[in-house]
Amino acid sequence: MEILVRMVNRSDKTDDSKYGDCIAARPDGFPWTQAERTNPAWSLFRSNLTQAEVDALLQPLIDAGSLKLIYRRKLTVDVNGLGLAPNPTSGAIPDIPAEDIRAVTSEKPLP
């Protein structure tokens, strides 16, 4: 699975897209757009995470009572801890083993 991850906060708003948010996941070999391959706010990596784990990375955190969005993504991946460089990805999309992703993934603390 190939995963697009945000490398910088898009804004200071709590419910905006943040560093370490996984934006999208697609099967290996997916034709990512030019922007997805070159925008330095993002980076791409490939991993052998399970589909259940990828689904969790894409899950927002929503207040069950008010249905208001708290975070666009409940989990954060500390991509600096993976040594992942911002786009443009030079050459092939890097392979990062699932255990490395798991080691730097955590739940965001509630605001």
Binding site: D63, E99, R102
Partner: protein, 173 residues
């Protein structure tokens, strides 16, 4: 290999699916009552869990406090109907000979549950499967539901009044 991974909501479906995927088995979360049937071209794995903890986990999932009152209220109306009625719609799977049965408690508390499941499916157990089972699913909670924390005479009375002891016996708890 592809399987149908099935269970009543909050019975541990996401943990089951992740566990199966860690064994290299393709599946997704399904909540299929017995009357609806399942595809016959692949194995059917059904997860069950202590019904009292299903209610507690449902409360957490819905962002509600796990209290005696909330527990009692959701016995009378779970998602759309009384809890016992909704749960019983899945009970037929417990007697289905084609179905592979998994207990949530066996799956999450030690590696043997996942090893047994691999054996029943005829796939090799992978030694990194159980260590990677906790966390990183859409519904994983750091703390497992524990009905005993809110149990007392009022809850016991309500539980008995909806036929709770019979539910426990039927579901093997």
């Amino acid at each position: 290999m592809e399987v149908t991974a099935n269970g009543f909501p909050k019975a541990g479906n996401h943990a089951l699916v992740k566990g199966l995927q860690l064994l290299g088995v393709n599946c997704s979360v399904q909540h299929i009552p017995f009357a609806d049937g399942v595809p016959e071209d692949r194995p059917h794995v059904f997860i069950r869990r202590d019904p009292r903890n299903i209610v507690c986990s449902w409360l957490t999932h819905m962002g509600k406090p796990v209290t005696q009152g909330m527990f009692i209220a959701h016995l009378h109306k779970f998602e759309v109907a009384p809890f016992a009625e909704e749960l019983t719609a899945f009970a037929g799977w417990l007697d289905d000979a084609r179905t592979i049965h998994v207990r949530y408690e066996d799956l999450v508390y030690n590696a043997q549950g996942l090893k047994d499941l691999a054996g029943k499916l005829g796939v090799p157990y992978l030694d990194d499967a159980y260590p990677n089972l906790p966390g990183m699913t859409v519904s994983w909670q750091k703390k497992h539901a524990n009905w005993a924390e809110i149990w007392g005479p009022p809850v016991e009375h309500a539980w008995n009044s909806i036929g709770g002891p019979r539910l426990l016996e039927r579901w093997g708890y």
